[in-house]
C-alpha cells in the first residue's frame, strides 16, 4: 500500500471577491522512503497542496472534494483529535521561513519538550530535554544552547532547528516547503544534504516543495510540475529530465542556467502566471505557450498517462491513439 495517496483533490479559497481554485483535480501517490518534488511558481498551489495533506489550509481555504489517504486511511474524514495525533508524529511539515516559524517567547528546548510530551505524554521532562539535546547535537547545534530563544539563532540554525523538530518523532513523511529559499546558496546545500542524510537514516519519505527545479531534479525520485493549481506533468525525475513533455516543463528546464556553458543565452517563459480569480479559459497555460492551438483556448486538457508512469496535461498528447501517446505536432 502506498504511504500517501492523493485522489482528485480540490482545494478552494473562498473570498468575498470570488473563489480561487488553488488546487484542481490533483492525484498522485508516494511510497515509503520515496522522495517527491512539487515544482511550480509562486501561486501555483504547491504550498496549498502540501498543507492540505495535513489539513491545515488557512482561512478562507477549504478542501472542497477528493481524498487524501495516509496508509489507506482517508484523513479528510478523521476527527480533529486524531488528525492532531498524526501531525508532527506521522507526518511532519517544515515551513518556508525559519525566521518566523518558531515561537519567539519560547525557548528552543521548550519547543522540543512540548512536542515530545504532546505525542508521548508519559515521557518525563528531563527525558524529553535529553532527547532534544541529542537531536540538536546531530544537527550541528551546541547542546548548551537548548535554553536560548529563537532570535538568538541565525536563519540557517533556525532552519536546522525546524528540521530537528520535524524528525524528533521519527515521522513516516516529511514535507519541506521551500527549505532553501530564505537561505544563502552555501547554507542551502548543507541543509539539503542534512535532510537527505536524515532521510536515509530514518527511512522517511520526503516531499520537497520548491520553485527551484534544479534542486528538485537533483534530489527527488518523482516530480510533479504544478501550474495554476493543476498538475501539468508527473513523472520520475530521470524521465522528466530525459523527455519533458509539457511545454511548461520544457520552458522551466531551459531556463535553468548551466554554469558549464560559457555563452548560454538565458531563456525565460514569456508572460506571467494567471490571475487565479479569473484564469484563462481552456488550458491555463495557453497565453504563454509556444505551441498553443485552437482547442487550447477553449477546452481544458485532462491529465493522461503513459503506462501509469508518465502523466501530462496537454492537448499535444492524444489519448485516442490507445496505450501509446502520439504527438500531434513535431516538438
Amino acid at each position: 500500500m502506498p504511504l500517501l495517496e492523493i485522489e482528485s483533490l480540490n482545494v478552494d479559497y473562498r473570498a468575498s471577491r470570488g473563489t480561487v481554485h488553488a488546487v484542481e483535480d490533483a492525484s498522485f501517490s508516494l511510497n515509503k522512503g520515496e522522495t517527491l518534488g512539487l515544482a511550480g511558481e509562486s501561486g501555483s498551489g504547491k504550498s496549498t497542496l502540501g498543507l492540505s495533506i495535513i489539513r491545515l489550509v488557512p482561512y478562507p481555504g477549504v478542501i472542497a472534494s477528493g481524498h487524501v489517504r495516509i496508509e489507506g486511511t482517508d484523513i479528510l474524514e478523521l476527527p480533529e483529535s486524531e488528525m492532531q495525533s498524526i501531525r508532527g508524529r506521522k507526518v511532519a511539515y517544515i515551513f518556508q521561513d525559519p525566521m518566523t516559524s518558531l515561537n519567539p517567547v519560547k525557548r528552543i528546548g521548550a519547543h522540543f519538550v512540548e512536542l515530545i510530551r504532546t505525542h508521548e505524554p508519559n515521557t518525563s521532562a528531563a527525558d524529553a530535554l535529553g532527547r532534544a539535546k541529542t537531536i540538536l547535537e546531530s544537527l550541528g547545534i551546541l547542546a548548551e544552547r537548548i535554553n536560548d530563544y529563537p532570535h538568538q539563532f541565525s536563519g540557517g540554525m533556525r532552519q536546522r532547528i525546524m528540521i530537528g523538530l520535524a524528525i524528533t518523532l521519527n515521522p513516516d513523511l516529511v514535507m519541506a516547503d521551500e527549505p532553501t529559499t530564505a537561505l544563502d546558496v552555501i547554507v542551502q546545500q548543507k541543509i539539503l544534504d542534512l535532510l537527505e542524510g536524515l532521510r536515509k537514516v530514518y527511512g522517511m519519505a520526503l516531499i520537497l516543495i520548491s520553485h527551484d527545479l534544479s534542486i528538485i531534479l537533483e534530489r527527488c525520485d518523482k516530480i510533479i510540475v504544478l501550474y495554476a493549481g493543476q498538475i501539468f506533468e508527473y513523472a520520475s525525475s530521470k524521465e522528466l529530465h530525459r523527455a519533458p513533455w509539457h511545454p511548461y516543463t520544457q520552458g522551466l528546464l531551459h531556463s535553468i542556467p548551466n554554469i558549464e556553458l560559457s555563452d548560454q543565452k538565458l531563456s525565460a517563459i514569456p508572460g506571467s502566471p494567471p490571475d487565479m480569480l479569473s484564469p484563462p479559459k481552456g488550458c491555463r497555460f495557453w497565453p504563454r505557450c509556444p505551441y498553443a492551438m485552437e482547442e487550447c483556448r477553449v477546452e481544458e486538457p485532462e491529465l493522461i498517462g503513459h503506462e501509469q508512469s508518465h502523466f501530462v496535461r496537454c492537448f499535444l498528447y492524444d489519448k485516442k491513439a490507445g496505450s501509446h501517446i502520439e504527438r500531434n505536432r513535431e516538438g
Binding site: 495535513i54 491545515l56 488557512p58 482561512y59 480533529e80 492532531q84 495525533s85 498524526i86 501531525r87 508532527g88 508524529r89 511532519a92 511539515y93 515551513f95 518556508q96 521561513d97 518566523t100 516559524s101 518558531l102 515561537n103 519567539p104 517567547v105 519560547k106 512540548e114 512536542l115 504532546t118 505525542h119 530563544y149 532570535h151 525546524m162 523538530l165
Partner: protein, 345 residues
C-alpha cells in the same frame, strides 16, 4: 541586559517624569484664573482681609518660592516620618493636612481600580480570544458589538442603571459606601477592605465589603472591557495568521495550547501595554464611578474640593493620581520585559 538592570534603569527614569508632572500641575494650578482667596469670603471683602488671607494661604510669595517650598515640602522626610504621609500642604479651605486626607481616601480608589481592572481584563481577554477564533461569525459580531457599545456608555449612566436594577428593584446589592454602615470596617493593614477582611480572617466583613465593591467595579470594568475586547481581538487575529502558529498546529499541538501558549502569549504584549495606558483612563472613570456610588475615594475627594477652589487639595490629589499612573506604567514595562525576552537585550 538582564531583567534586574532593566528594572533599575526604568525606576530611575521615572523620577524626571514625576518631577515634570509635578511642575506642570503646579503651573497649571497657579496660572489659571479663579481665586481661592475670594472663596473664603461670602461677599466682596476688604482688601486688607483679602491680603491677610492671601498671606495665610501662602499665595503672596513669588511663584518660584511657592514652587520650591512645595517641592521641599514633598521630600521632607521628617514630616513623612512623623505624619505617615508626605507634606502636601494645607487645605486652602479647611487648613487641614491635605496629605492625611489624600492618604485616607486613596485606598478606596485603589481597591476600586484593582477590581475593575481585573474584571475588565478577564472579560476583555476571554471574549477577545473567543471572538478572534470564530472570525466573521455571529458570535464574533455580537462580541464586537458588545465591545463597541460598552465603551460608548457614559460611566455614570451605566452606574445609575446598575444601581436601579440591582440595588433598588432587586435589592441584591448595596448602592453606595464601602461596606454596610452597620458593620465595622476591618482593621487597616492595606486599606483595601476586602484584603484586610481576609487578613483578619473575618469572612462576613469580606462578603459585605465585596458586595459593596461589586456594582461599582462591574460598572467600570464592563465599560473598560469594551476596549480590551477589541484590542485583544485584533491582536489575536494578526497573531493567529503568523507562521509559528500554523507550525505549532503542524506539530500536532492541541488547539488550546496553540491559542493560549502561542497566539495569546505573543498577542498579549501590546494588550498589556494598552492596559497600562488604559489605567489612566480607568482613574478618570473611577472619579465618575465614585460620584455615582458615593464611594469615598480620591475621586470624590477631588470633586468636593473643586467647589472650594482648594488649590493644595486638588494639586495633591492630582499628583497622587499621577504617581499612581507612573507606578502602574513602570509595572507594565517590567512585566513586558518579563514576557518578551527580546526587549531585554
Amino acid at each position: 541586559m538582564g531583567l534586574r538592570t532593566y528594572v533599575i534603569t526604568r525606576i530611575l527614569l521615572t523620577i524626571p517624569t514625576l518631577l515634570l508632572l509635578l511642575s506642570m500641575v503646579f503651573l497649571i494650578m497657579r496660572v489659571l484664573p479663579g481665586d481661592p482667596v475670594a472663596l473664603h469670603f461670602e461677599k466682596k471683602a476688604e482688601p486688607a482681609q483679602m491680603d491677610a488671607m492671601r498671606r495665610i494661604l501662602g499665595l503672596d510669595k513669588p511663584l518660584w518660592v511657592q514652587y520650591t517650598d512645595y517641592l521641599l515640602g514633598l521630600v521632607d522626610v521628617n514630616y513623612f516620618v512623623s505624619h505617615g504621609y508626605p507634606n502636601f500642604g494645607k487645605s486652602m479651605q479647611t487648613f487641614e493636612e491635605v496629605g492625611g486626607q489624600i492618604f485616607s481616601a486613596f485606598p478606596a480608589t485603589l481597591e476600586l481600580a484593582l477590581y475593575s481592572m481585573v474584571i475588565a481584563s478577564v472579560i476583555g481577554i476571554l471574549l477577545g480570544v473567543a471572538s478572534s477564533k470564530s472570525y466573521n461569525s455571529i458570535p464574533d459580531h455580537l462580541i464586537r458589538g458588545f465591545g463597541t457599545i460598552a465603551y460608548a456608555i457614559p460611566v455614570f449612566f451605566l452606574g445609575i442603571i446598575f444601581q436601579l436594577i440591582f440595588g433598588v428593584y432587586l435589592g441584591w446589592l448595596p448602592t453606595g459606601l464601602r461596606i454596610n454602615p452597620r458593620v465595622e470596617p476591618p482593621a487597616t493593614i492595606t486599606g483595601l477592605y476586602t484584603i484586610d477582611s481576609l487578613l483578619e480572617g473575618n469572612l462576613y466583613k469580606f462578603l459585605e465589603s465585596f458586595k459593596a465593591l461589586l456594582l461599582p467595579s462591574l460598572t467600570l470594568g464592563i465599560i473598560l472591557s469594551g476596549i480590551f475586547i477589541r484590542l485583544t481581538r485584533s491582536n489575536m487575529l494578526e497573531t493567529l495568521r503568523l507562521d509559528f502558529v500554523t507550525a505549532a498546529r503542524a506539530r500536532g499541538l492541541k488547539e488550546g495550547t496553540v491559542t493560549y501558549g502561542y497566539a495569546l502569549r505573543n498577542a498579549f504584549l501590546p494588550v498589556l501595554t494598552m492596559m497600562g495606558l488604559q489605567f489612566a483612563m480607568l482613574l478618570g472613570g473611577a472619579i465618575l464611578t465614585e460620584s455615582t456610588f458615593s464611594w469615598p475615594g480620591l475621586g470624590s475627594y477631588i470633586v468636593q474640593r473643586i467647589n472650594f477652589r482648594d488649590y493644595t487639595a486638588i494639586q495633591g490629589a492630582v499628583i497622587m493620581f499621577g504617581l499612581f499612573v507612573t507606578v502602574v506604567s513602570l509595572v507594565v514595562d517590567v512585566l513586558y520585559a518579563y514576557f518578551d525576552p527580546r526587549i531585554r537585550l
